[in-house]
């Protein structure tokens, strides 16, 4: 596990895949993608990235055929949920500030404080990459 975590993956390490047609280290790890502990979530992300980085055709074929669609579907669904939570949080800031004239200013300050411009920047970057 630590070898994967710290990037010491190699093609030889994954040769067992061809015999078992399974990859429990990866398939079990991705089940913890949305774990409540942030350290677990980070570990899962590091592990998946290090696995993807290994240049082994049969392993990538396995990941593509068996796990990619459900895993990425979950990933995108969680990101979408976060977007909606952020939307609700921004609206709550506006409501909490009352009906005074400074509402827009307060919301803008909160959004700036939360580095939301970085989110917008990254999102535009993705839309450019995906189209």
């Amino acid at each position: 596990m630590q070898y994967i975590m710290y990037g010491y993956c190699s093609k030889n390490f994954f040769c067992f895949l061809q015999h078992t047609n399974d990859f429990p280290l990866y398939t079990e790890a991705i089940k913890f993608f949305n774990n409540s502990e942030s350290m677990v979530r980070i570990a899962v992300r590091t592990l998946t990235l290090n696995v993807y980085r290994v240049d082994d055709k049969s392993m990538l074929q396995f990941i593509r055929d068996k796990t990619a669609a459900p895993y990425f579907s979950n990933l995108v669904w969680f990101i979408g949920n976060h977007v909606l939570e952020i939307d609700a949080a921004v609206k709550k800031v506006a409501e909490d500030s009352g009906a005074s004239g400074g509402t827009r200013g307060l919301v803008t300050t909160e959004v700036k404080k939360a580095k939301y411009y970085e989110v917008i920047d990254m999102t535009v970057h993705f839309i450019e990459m995906t189209t």
């Binding site: 992300r45 990235l49 980085r53 990538l60 593509r64 990933l75 995108v76 990101i79 939570e85 989110v119």
Partner: protein
């Protein structure tokens, strides 16, 4: 959860997606990009700009 924390976590997600895309594994990227476009960018981000938008979880 506070707005700062939500945005920080959202940024973590975006950086993770970016890291996957930068590995340039075309098979994986194709699946990921399909999901991003059809389940996030178009229904949530782009539709949010339309008047009277009612963004929902798919």
């Amino acid at each position: 959860m506070r707005l700062d924390d939500l945005v920080a976590e959202h940024l973590d997600h975006l950086h993770y997606v970016n890291d996957i895309l930068l590995l340039q594994i075309s098979d994986l990227n194709q699946v990921l990009v399909d999901h991003l476009l059809t389940r996030l960018f178009i229904p949530k981000y782009i539709e949010a700009f339309s008047p009277g938008a009612n963004v929902r979880i798919l």
